[in-house]
């Protein structure tokens, strides 16, 4: 079929290919249902962006997109591309402004019946402890430059050294919460200034902290390994590297725009600015991005520490009674050097995941030993009024998507339309009637982020599950939300 003048050929039920034409170096491949193509892909330029990414020097196999694909900057959101380390490039457009935006899931020993009675109090306590909203700051003392650089170098390990993380928290974070080649010395003064008082802050927009209940279990074995049981209270945290990450992206877009000219790349979109991975510009961006990623892991860790405190104070429980344990922390905006099989040979490539989650299979040495029998937890948040999913990675993901899957629901309505839809409604009351208590800095955020503004995440998850890229483990439903 033709969509926006781009040819889409069906490969399987939910897998479509854009043939390589013109200067495309590889074909495009999109995991999506036919319905979603008609509903979502006709109205924006996301498909064109899949085509654009296929122009990147050194791209391997396919320019990929997950079912939550939508219009991004450079890459579409939901875009995945691996590039050769010798001939290929690295692009900030394949990572995004919010470097290492990601999600973490923690489980408690509490059941919904015990929490429901105190949910108002708990949500207020969480809101009091975790700074939210535009320019939120002050969760912990403003970091000195020395400490900030340590965070950029060591990620969550900094939190552990300051009694804000347990060894188990570190173990169950992707990359153990630290990318080792991060270089804080190439982060601009402005980026450092933007990040200095934002460690442990949620920020605004679609970032959130949710108290959820495990509503349905699809895979008993994996759920048991992850420590999940029906009616259990769990916590989901979604945020990233805050102003520091945005500034790093901004700074290096400029550097890589010049580099694209210097290396003679003729790119279809300025936001695809890139440099050869092995060039000094490419290496600098990689190290700066890794530093920002470490900042994000530390940020989510500090928030988890604050949330743990809020739970303990609300329920007057010891740490062991509460059992506030991290299941996993995944990033969904990142470029990583990983080994993948290409033409039957294992080689190192740079995998860009922009609004896509790593989904490594059972047996992978890169996931915690405890999870090797079932695979890596893949966390896929939905909207604040419906549900989110926990899944696991599979071998098929390694074969087809460089070990990647979808990352969320994606917006359905623009913020303006959402505000218009919210007029005259009491969304707080509507959510309350559904058993969800919400607290936010302003009503505007609640209106912009209302459930109807998002697509149904189950459509997205079902595509990946049915194609065998992930396997569903559990569905969780929110009972308490805090937002910016």
């Amino acid at each position: 079929m033709m969509i926006n003048e781009i040819e889409l050929n069906r490969i399987r039920e939910n897998l479509w290919e854009i043939p390589a034409t013109g200067n495309m170096r590889v074909p495009g491949r999109i995991y999506i249902s036919e319905n979603m193509i008609h509903e979502n892909l006709k109205t924006d330029d996301a498909l064109k962006q899949v085509v654009n990414v296929a122009h990147l020097p050194g791209i391997e196999k396919y320019s990929l997109a997950m079912p939550d694909i939508h219009w991004g900057y450079g890459f579409p959101i939901g875009g995945v591309a691996a590039t050769d380390l010798e001939e290929g490039v690295i692009s900030p457009g394949g990572v995004g402004y919010d470097i290492n935006c990601g999600v973490r899931l923690a489980v408690t020993n509490l059941e919904v019946s015990a929490v429901k009675k105190r949910i108002d109090h708990l949500v207020s306590k969480l809101f009091e402890k975790v700074p939210t909203g535009v320019g939120s700051k002050g969760a912990i003392k403003k970091l000195s430059k020395k400490d900030l650089k340590k965070v950029l170098e060591s990620g969550s390990v900094w939190a552990a050294e300051h009694d804000m993380a347990t060894q188990s928290d570190i173990e169950f974070t992707e990359e153990s919460g630290t990318l080792e080649n991060a270089n804080p010395d190439i982060i601009s003064e402005r980026a450092l200034e933007r990040g200095a008082n934002q460690a442990g802050t949620l920020g605004s927009g679609n970032h959130f902290l949710e108290v959820d209940v495990v509503e349905e279990i699809y895979d008993d074995k994996a759920a048991e390994v992850f420590g999940l049981f029906k009616d259990q209270v769990v916590v989901l945290i979604h945020t990233g590297s805050r102003g520091l990450g945005y500034q790093v992206c901004d700074d290096y877009l400029k550097v890589l725009l010049n580099a694209s000219n210097k290396y003679g790349f003729n790119l279809p979109d300025k936001q695809l600015a890139c440099a050869p991975i092995k060039s000094s510009e490419g290496q600098d961006y990689l190290s700066a991005m890794q530093a920002a990623a470490n900042f994000a892991w530390n940020n989510r860790q500090v928030i988890m520490h604050l949330a743990r405190k809020a739970f303990r104070e609300t329920f007057n429980m010891s740490e062991s009674e509460l059992g506030f344990n991290l299941v996993y922390d995944v990033c969904h905006n990142i470029a990583k050097i990983e080994k993948h099989k290409i033409d039957n040979e294992e080689k190192k490539v740079c995998v860009h995941r922009k609004g896509a989650t790593r989904a490594f299979p059972p047996g992978s040495k890169l996931i915690p030993a405890k999870y090797r029998s079932v695979g890596q937890p893949v966390l896929i948040p939905g909207d604040m009024g419906r549900y989110s999913y926990i899944a696991v990675g599979t071998e098929k993901a390694m074969e087809e998507t460089f070990g990647s899957s979808c990352h969320g629901a994606g917006r359905n309505l623009s913020r303006r339309k959402a505000l218009k839809d919210a007029k005259g409604r009491n969304l707080v009351k509507e959510l309350n009637e559904k058993g969800i208590v919400i607290k936010a800095r302003g009503y505007r955020t609640i209106a912009e982020e209302m459930p109807g503004a998002y697509k149904d995440v189950s459509d997205v998850v079902d595509v990946m599950h049915n194609e065998g890229i992930i396997r569903k483990v559990a569905k969780i439903r929110p009972i308490g939300v805090i937002k910016g």
Binding site: Y73, R190, R194, S204, Y246, C249, L253, G442
Partner: protein
């Protein structure tokens, strides 16, 4: 002043079309669009003046840098722009140079910030002449 801007629908972020008789008007209108995206009508207290100069390799880069600078003042330095008092844009060989004097104030508690703009993007930005006016689309990532 004939410079102008118009917001257009965008699913995730903020997009606007900007027009100006001159580059200076286009840049000023762009900053006004930025301002109306981040704050409601605001009463200005004690005003301060800032002067700065920027250089860039293209006029698009210069526009991104200009709004980014003002965005940084607000979201990192808590200083909100009110007016662009003076603005001059020149091209010297391959370099674009902007000199400006702006007026604003430190942000107090009663200023309501609507949303944080993460970054000013290059997405579909192309400063061109349309019917004798400068035109561009700007997308703010929020």
């Amino acid at each position: 002043m004939t410079a102008n801007y118009k917001f257009i629908d965008h699913t995730a972020d903020i997009a606007c079309e900007v027009l100006g008789n001159t580059l200076e008007e286009l840049f000023t209108a762009s900053v006004e669009a930025w301002k109306s995206s981040v704050v409601e009508e605001t009463k200005y207290g004690e005003r301060e003046i800032k002067k700065f100069k920027l250089t860039a390799s293209s006029k698009e880069q210069l526009l991104v840098d200009f709004i980014s600078e003002i965005n940084y003042y607000l979201f990192t330095r808590n200083w909100l722009l009110n007016l662009v008092l003076e603005l001059e844009i020149k091209q010297k060989n391959d370099t674009w140079i902007l000199s400006t004097e702006i007026e604003g104030m430190p942000v107090s508690q009663d200023v309501e910030i609507k949303q944080e703009i993460k970054a000013i993007t290059f997405h579909q930005m192309n400063i061109e002449k349309r019917e004798n006016k400068y035109y561009t689309l700007i997308v703010f990532d929020i």
